[in-house]
Symmetry: C2
Subunit: 214 residues, 2 copies
């Protein structure tokens, strides 16, 4: 588990959780994820979450400091998975580095795809909530380092062309993935079929890193 998000009540002892208390907490989280699958974040109130978990609104505030804190807890779990997935796939030694990269992008999509409602809600809140933003940038940072390192390595090998700073290229590529992820989940541009997205992204990544048509 990751460190406790700061918006959560510090009062509650994390070490000695009451059974019933933890049940409530789980009920709130489950309710949030369920409701997010039905309507967007801004159309869900703390009252909805409380009622959904079978408690009153003040009691809700006993468990979470705000609606955002619930989302943060939900999102945190996904971020952890995504981080673990990236480290796993990119750390693996494999014959074809390009294939490894394509697979990492696929895993990225699958991890967030398994919780698209939460992912979309996080995107919705990102601009106005710095904690969610920082959580997200954690994943982005990991990708940026790995990708920049790859580009530089390929440049030294002579396989990749020189040009703009490797890190800048990496960040732009990652942001593309991020935006496409959200767009796909939000159902924007239905023209691009969801299965093909990873292939399209991989094409651009590999064109940029190695050159096209390999």
């Amino acid at each position: 588990m990751s460190p406790t998000p700061s918006t959560e009540r510090p009062v509650r002892g994390r070490r000695a959780p009451r059974v019933s208390g933890d049940d409530r907490e789980r009920a709130i989280l489950a309710t949030a994820e369920r409701l997010l699958e039905q309507r967007p974040y801004h159309e869900i109130s703390t009252d909805d979450l409380a009622r959904g978990a079978g408690i009153s609104r003040p009691t809700f505030y006993f468990y979470f400091a705000s609606k955002d804190a619930v989302l943060l807890a939900l999102f945190d779990r996904i971020i952890e998975q995504a981080e673990a997935g990236r480290v796993e796939v990119l750390g693996r030694d494999r014959d074809d580095p390009a294939a490894r990269w394509r697979e990492a992008i696929g895993v990225f999509y699958e991890t967030f795809g398994a919780h698209r409602a939460v992912t979309l809600a996080a995107a919705e809140v990102q601009l106005s909530n710095s904690e969610v933003r920082e959580l997200w940038s954690k994943v982005m940072e990991g990708w940026a380092s790995d990708t920049a390192a790859l580009i530089e390595a390929e440049r030294e090998r002579g396989a990749a062309p020189p040009g703009a700073p490797a890190r800048d290229l990496a960040i732009a590529l990652i942001r593309m993935n991020e935006r496409m992820l959200h767009a796909t989940f939000a159902g924007e541009s239905p023209s691009v079929s969801e299965q093909d997205v990873v292939e399209v992204l991989a094409t651009i990544w590999l064109s940029t890193i190695y050159g096209p048509a390999r």
Copy 2:
């Protein structure tokens, strides 16, 4: 000018605007843009807008149906400019198509950069307001058509490699630009200097379309 956004009061005769009435409307728009340069959209209330324009809150509602409608009007003007800019630059006949494309990306950045506060606010609202989203997708659609056409043309000429559908590639590239635009304006990742962004994006675009290192 573009068609009147639908959230604006239909009551007000667009054809016979009172001088003082138009002044008020302008005052509200100016106030909104000014306040957005100071704090994010969600921290601005209709009361702030009304007071800033020297009127009461109910009077504000005489001119705009909501806070979102103000942003929509503001954003609409920028969208028009961006559209005009794209058509202008990409329509120009020029020796080097790659340079033309690079220039178009630069103009895209400059147009929105001249109103970054409004652009950021639009980004903030995009997920929860379909009208803003549609306005934005208008620009994206124009770029998608042009870009897809270019890729297909280059493929026929044999300069561009075959692969994923041209339109899908185009959309991914455009979304990258979109995300980088917002990130730059929001001050995310200060590592990438703002001047270099266009160069980085152009590198990826041209790598994808023509192959790298040209």
